[in-house]
């Protein structure tokens, strides 16, 4: 999945490198608590935080894999899955060349992008109508 | 002038000018001293000039017990400041690289945290040195404009170095440029002020030891 980020050098990956791994996990914990208390969702951009090679993997590995997985085909693939901690989702967007272009941790019951979008539903109806050749009116 | 241009100037022409003035000044000053010459002693010797002169260069580093007791503040602050200053100066990796580039010799560096700690100690000690200079009645009496100027010019590289290390206040190139410029000012005034004691104290101690040693006294 993340071959792009696998270390090329024998760098001792671990939290002591940038010291950002643990604080980030705690941030997720706080967000989950808030979500439970108030229903407020949050999104963390993994690319906005300096991480050493291997550290992103370390976060991903810690969060683990849960029950739900989805693969989207939207201008290149996107991958969404729930971690072993319910309510914590990993959203990874790839480009056509399967390179990660953005990656988020979402704390919510279901990431918005997973849902069918109103505009697309409208288009879908139109398309279905055209397909069936039925006049709406 | 952008900060990078300033940094380039400080690393290039600024450093050249400072080095020329510093090296030429120090060499001229030392020759100026040595070439004055000293008459050979015609009295029958009781001890050796050379060996005691060399000995005193080393031993004069340690104060005698009574003097230490009587002037402990001056001695402790002075020693702490000097020693703590030499650690960042000679054991901070970027500084070692500088020396390596100029004189071709290099040695192991100390971790940033250690260097930083000594820099802080040195800064505190320098402030103590200043306070002592302004409050100790003898030092206050002896202090002239040059003493204060030299204190300031020694303090600036330390404090700017500390700011550059921690990137406080300005952008990194500006901090680095200011640090280098402060060092260059120090180098330029060096040969013409009491900063020369860095070199001449070895001469002075040698003469003292030699004069004493000739008479059979370990000074």
């Amino acid at each position: 999945m993340s071959t792009v980020n696998s270390p090329r050098f024998n760098i001792q990956a671990g939290s002591e490198l940038t010291r950002n791994v643990e604080p980030l996990l705690h941030e997720i914990r706080h967000a989950l608590q808030t979500f439970l208390d108030t229903g407020e969702t949050s999104i963390i951009d993994l690319r906005s935080i300096p991480l050493a090679p291997g550290e992103e993997d370390s976060i991903i590995n810690t969060l683990g894999q849960g029950e739900v997985q989805a693969l989207l085909d939207v201008l290149g693939p996107s991958e969404i899955y729930e971690t072993k901690y319910a309510g914590v989702w990993i959203v990874t967007h790839y480009n056509d060349d399967d390179n990660i272009i953005s990656r988020f941790v979402e704390i919510t019951d279901s990431p918005d992008v997973l849902k069918s979008q109103r505009e697309d539903v409208v288009d879908a109806l139109n398309a279905l109508v055209t397909e069936l050749g039925t006049d709406k009116t | 002038m952008t900060e990078i241009e300033l940094l380039s100037w400080a690393r290039g022409p600024g450093l050249q000018i400072a080095t020329i003035v510093f090296v030429a000044g120090v060499v001229i000053r030392i020759l100026e001293i040595l070439l004055l010459g000293r008459k050979a002693n015609l009295a029958e010797a009781k001890g050796s000039e050379m060996s005691n002169g060399l000995r005193t260069i080393v031993t004069r580093t340690i104060p005698d017990k009574t003097t230490f007791k009587r002037s402990s503040v001056t001695i402790v602050s002075g020693y702490v400041f000097h020693i703590a200053m030499f650690i960042p100066l000679f054991f901070f990796a970027p500084h070692i690289l500088f020396f390596k580039d100029v004189i071709g010799v290099s040695w192991p560096s100390l971790p940033g945290a250690v260097v930083d700690a000594f820099a802080v100690i040195s800064i505190i000690a320098m402030i103590a040195v200043l306070i002592n200079r302004l409050t100790n009645r003898v030092m206050r009496y002896l202090t002239n404009f040059e003493d204060l100027l030299v204190w300031l010019l020694t303090f600036l590289p330390l404090i700017t170095g500390y700011f550059a290390f921690h990137r406080i206040g300005l952008t990194a190139p500006s901090l680095l440029a200011i640090h280098l410029l402060s060092v260059e000012v120090l180098l330029i005034v060096f040969p013409f002020t009491k900063l020369m004691h860095t070199f001449t104290l070895f001469l002075a101690r040698w003469y003292n030891g030699a004069i004493s040693g000739y008479r059979g006294v370990a000074s």
Partner: protein, 376 residues
């Protein structure tokens, strides 16, 4: 007329004479709402904006008007355009370019000769006061003949194009700070855009080349907010140039611990230790390489084992050599040291001789002191 030119133009964008909103354009292209959301999320990430802003970005982008963009290339190597077109290979970033009307770019456009120049003139006229002017390359002030396009000197073309521009984006270190053409001894008298244009907002996107997402990020910001991003004291968007490479470098802990690679193939290099001693300019270089990375987020120079050369800073070419550590003097001090010392020995001996003759004089004029001489 406009339509014809656009056809000849054959730019990266869909030819769209009416220039509707971005939302309309995308829908026409059959881009789904989900894709658009992905695009917005990625754009936010790219611009280093907090994810909470994604909905407002989506709204703004949807209603954004497609601006006319004129791209002028002066003394440059086309590396900036190459960097940008690499960015273009990824689907999402391409939307940014789909959302502008690139009316003139002499490397990318299909049109040639008088037609190409006419396209520029027409775009300038039609969008006077509203178009974005992108410049890569430096401008020679020495002899205008060093770099001309269609017989027009770079200086004249820049001055003319700048007049009607809403803003100017200087792309690459040449356009922002003079770059390699400006490097000592600067034979063409190369200068940057901001050295010439004083009365327009200029965004500097330095780098040799700049990070592609930084270029697209700045465009996205302009599209999203219709304004320029916040700039630092030398005109760079703070979102990308706010922190130094050193500050965001994953090798920073090694620097702090004093663990350095001494050569490119020693144990330290293999262990990924800090490259400061190999000349890394990370501490004085402000850019986003360490977080956005290159080649679709693959890595950045330091991650590949090479020190930062400081390409996004002014005069990086004249910094005393890429492999000379920052704390080293840029010139040969050893030589200076030797000459200064040699000269000083001569001067010192002269001073010494003067001192001695002065003392000899005092010895000569000294008359033996007797008892009578002790009182005035």
């Amino acid at each position: 007329m406009t339509k014809d030119l656009n056809l000849k133009n054959g730019s990266l964008t869909e030819i769209s004479p009416e220039k509707g909103t971005l939302g309309e354009t995308l829908r026409k292209q059959g881009v789904s709402r989900r894709s658009f959301m992905k695009f917005c999320a990625t754009t936010a990430s790219m611009m280093a904006l907090p994810p909470a802003m994604i909905p407002s970005i989506a709204k703004a982008l949807e209603n954004a008007r497609r601006p006319s963009v004129i791209w002028l290339s002066f003394q440059e190597c086309t590396g900036c355009t190459e960097s940008l077109t690499r960015a273009h290979t990824s689907t999402v970033e391409s939307l940014i370019f789909d959302s502008i009307s690139l009316d003139y770019h002499h490397t990318l456009q299909a049109a040639a000769g008088h037609g190409a120049e006419l396209a520029r003139e027409v775009a300038m006229e039609e969008n006077y006061g509203n178009y974005l002017l992108v410049v890569d390359g430096s401008i020679p002030l020495d002899n205008p003949g060093y770099s001309t396009i269609a017989g027009i000197s770079n200086l004249d073309m820049l001055n003319e194009a700048a007049k009607g521009a809403a803003a100017i984006i200087a792309v690459g270190t040449c356009a922002t700070y003079g770059g390699i053409p400006h490097a000592n001894p600067n034979p063409t008298g190369a200068v940057s855009v901001k050295d010439i244009i004083k009365d327009k907002p200029i965004i500097n996107v330095p780098g040799c080349p700049p990070i592609p997402v930084v270029i697209t990020g700045v465009l996205a910001h302009f599209l999203t907010f219709g304004s320029l991003p916040e700039l630092d004291h030398i005109g760079r968007p703070k979102a990308f140039y706010g922190q130094s490479i050193h500050d965001r470098c994953y090798r920073r802990p090694f620097y702090d611990k004093g663990q350095f690679a001494e050569t490119f193939d020693d144990e330290g290099a293999k262990k990924g230790w800090c490259l400061f001693k190999l000349g890394c300019k990370g501490p004085t270089t402000y850019n986003a390489c360490a977080t956005t990375k290159w080649n679709n987020g693959t890595s950045f120079p330091i991650e590949s084992g090479h020190p930062c050369i400081g390409c996004s800073e002014p005069d990086f070419w004249d910094g005393g050599g890429f492999y000379k550590a920052l704390s080293m003097p840029t010139d040969n001090l050893t030589q200076t040291l030797k000459y200064a010392a040699a000269g000083a020995v001569a001067a010192g001996v002269t001073v010494g001789v003067m001192n001695r003759s002065k003392k000899n004089t005092s010895n000569k004029i000294h008359v033996k002191t007797t008892l009578e001489d002790l009182e005035k």
